[in-house]
Symmetry: C2
Subunit: 458 residues, 2 copies
């Protein structure tokens, strides 16, 4: 299980700590701005869904270094020559910076800053690893889920993937991210309790197998859950099992509301399992096909809801997203200097940025522009809002757990309704959603490079 | 961040709780045995490495239901008709069962039970989701790592993937699993502190960018870390940066021990980033190729160590493993009855099992046999050992965190040395490693099915 030090300052890459020691010891405590963004869309994704900000702010508000963690660092050979000032810094360390971010549920694209952190440079540096990790998990799960819920075309989708998520925490937070991107609930009971995600369940094969026969197994379950029982029909013979559920239809106490079976998904949404739940009277005529993909179900197929397991909880077809956290600005001696990186493969743009989106006359989103924060686009709306100041959440970022996911889901559903139709398809969109850099930004890198050489301010 | 209730009984799928209610209310408290195994090897894997048992036993020893969790369950509509006896059961619930398992670091194959749980059926059922999730994460990360460390052919590999792991917990435990499968260390400082995994770090582009020029950035870092500094050379121009590191070679205080650059892996081990660290004098002649895969480095390439990021921490080419947890036996009225599942796609074998391995005269493993626990193979050794009795760890399973991973790594390295050479290759092995079911097991399912129909004991 995950250890109990949840807001440990050591939840970071060692190089963040060595660099922080370097900044502290060199008395380099100017404020710096870092932007977290996704460099390229992963395969099979036409857009991404921002998620995880709630947990990220939680971490920033609480991260600190207990004495045992500082003692541990002192034992590391690489810290041998580090002066006491650094350990003093750690002992009183609290994150004191400002954060702008896209609210959870926002649809975004490659290159767009999702979170922007401004803080004394050592603090902003120390936050990197956990910020990336926290935003990464829920963002790519939400982005995967968005495909699944879109394909389900309004029929409820339940997240059933905890058992093969990447550990216990990933299971809980995948359930939360899935709700943000339109799922109706989860099998993860902890997520139900602590994140307000409605919890659902079916029945395991072991329940059927542990009883003398299938009819007894069904009846014993209906005795305990007379109103909402779900019966599992594929332990031995699906058709025979469905026949055995029929008598309970005539019994007002013992009436199964749904029957359920497991089938592999073979294409479209990646490998995994789905649970098909439909009223058995309709469902019994549909149990012949053993190879199906979710997108192949038309609205006419008598299926009430879908459950999706590993394909969703691990985003199996794209199990990670290229999130990065880049320095874009340093305030040196009251001069603001834009920062960019110029190696051939990985050019970045300097300066604090904002993302603007434009809508066409039909209400559909027509394109985004990444620009400097202070550029003005009268016809556009902006996506990044301030969520933390001086290390404290702003009111807009103070929500109870249930409102937090519900509001994010509402934001996602509203945004999805405005995406161009071809961006919503399961297949790779052609053309991709238009995202441009502002003329102001495009002119900057050269200027920033000059600044890098001349130490002039931008 | 992950919530603080680490051993919450709600860290399970809701259906485990409804079935447990069904067992309790029906007074069905016979002991049952479940086996956790992997149904099929994932693509690109010729073998798997067991990991995560330490955290799994930790969970079983501590899982319980605090009052607020029981109150939550009472609010769920599906529990409306559940009687008080179930909530009483939860209030005093502790896992009281027995566990046999493969020690961490054991090499195993599809179909082989990795963990075997025997407990009153409701307890064994409630353990399912978290057991699967905990064993799953570290097992597939260790299995991925085994490929990477084998390809590195003795040169140290450092796990650098926390930032794109599936959340904070996954990052910490991926570092632990990576050490088990032969990594030399991790960038994850928390894993260093709490799991005894040596922590390493390099330098970020932001450090270079934040300084007036690259030479200053190098020098300021060497001031603080004069003995073990690693300098990053690909922020602007790799060759120019290496030239800038040279003067420090002549300075006994400011001598960079390694220089480092980031390059994408394009094949073989999946996408991701590797860090190449080599003594700069040798390394500077090698910076022309921008597209390389780890397996393409011969021993002659002057590289001291490898760092692997996302490809390892998310096992990107196979981001999950088909772990399942199946009922294989129930003790009913002092009769032991084997349990198996007979639907066409997913046949399972009944009975408590053991895995035996055989060695050829050259010391190489020659094949495994999955058999009933009490079958006897005088020439073979067995892989499953008892690790928990009546809910308490046995002495063999009581290790401090550092010994726990070190011993597991030693076990893995020893086992790997005995695998046939073609199983160790990066490409899919042909033929696969031979794993058979014993004649006793092969004859059982039909017998168990008869037992299912007749309620006779096996």
């Amino acid at each position: 299980m995950f250890p109990s030090k949840l807001f440990s300052g050591l939840l970071t890459d060692l190089y963040e700590l060595t660099m922080a020691a370097g900044y502290v010891q060199n008395r380099f405590n100017d404020r710096a701005t870092f932007e977290l963004f996704v460099r390229h869309l992963p395969r099979n994704r036409n857009y991404l869904v921002a998620a995880g900000l709630e947990q990220a702010l939680d971490y920033l508000e609480n991260v600190h270094f207990p004495p045992d963690e500082i003692s541990y660092l002192r034992t590391l050979p690489i810290f041998r020559h580090v002066q006491t000032s650094f350990y003093d810094f750690l002992a009183t360390f609290r994150f004191s910076g400002d954060v702008w971010a896209m609210p959870e549920g926002t649809i975004f694209f490659a290159g767009e800053p999702v979170v922007r952190v401004t803080a004394p440079i050592a603090e902003a540096e120390l936050a990197e690893t956990s910020l990336l990790s926290i935003i990464h998990l829920q963002t790519f799960i939400a982005s995967k889920t968005a495909r699944v819920t879109t394909a389900a075309a309004g029929r409820p989708v339940i997240e059933f993937g905890s058992r093969r998520a990447h550990g216990v925490e990933a299971g809980v937070l995948a359930a939360r991210a899935a709700l943000i991107a339109g799922c109706a609930g989860t099998s993860n009971t902890y997520a139900g309790h602590c994140h307000g995600v409605p919890a659902y369940g079916t029945q395991a094969h072991s329940w059927i197998m542990a009883h003398d026969d299938e009819s007894t197994a069904f009846r014993k379950f209906l005795d305990v859950f007379p109103e909402q029982a779900t019966l599992l029909v594929d332990t031995y013979d699906v058709r025979a099992a469905i026949d055995k559920t029929t008598p309970w239809d005539a019994n007002p106490v013992g009436c199964a509301s749904t029957v359920v079976t497991y089938w592999p998904i073979v294409s479209g949404l990646g490998s995994g399992l789905i649970v098909l739940a439909g009223r058995m009277c309709k469902f019994s005529s549909r149990v012949t096909s053993m190879k199906i993909a979710l997108r192949h179900f038309s609205q006419a197929t008598p299926i009430d809801s879908f459950g999706v397991r590993t394909a969703l909880s691990t985003s199996a077809d794209a199990p990670n997203v290229e999130v990065i956290y880049k320095l874009v600005e340093v305030e040196l001696d009251h001069q603001v200097r834009g920062m960019a990186k110029f190696s051939v493969d990985n050019k970045t743009y300097p300066g604090r940025k904002q993302v603007f989106y434009f809508q066409g006359e039909n209400g559909h989103y027509s394109g985004n522009t990444i620009a400097l924060e202070d550029e003005d686009f009268p016809l556009a709306k902006s996506l990044l809002i301030p969520v933390m100041r001086d290390g404290h959440r702003l009111e807009v970022a103070c929500q109870d757990p249930v409102s937090s996911v519900r509001n994010a889901q509402a934001r996602f559903l509203a945004a999805r309704a405005h995406l161009p139709e071809h961006i919503l398809r399961i297949v790779t969109a052609e053309p991709i959603y238009p995202v441009s850099y502002s003329a102001g930004l495009e002119s900057l890198p050269e200027q920033a490079r000059n600044s890098f050489l001349s130490t002039a301010s931008v």
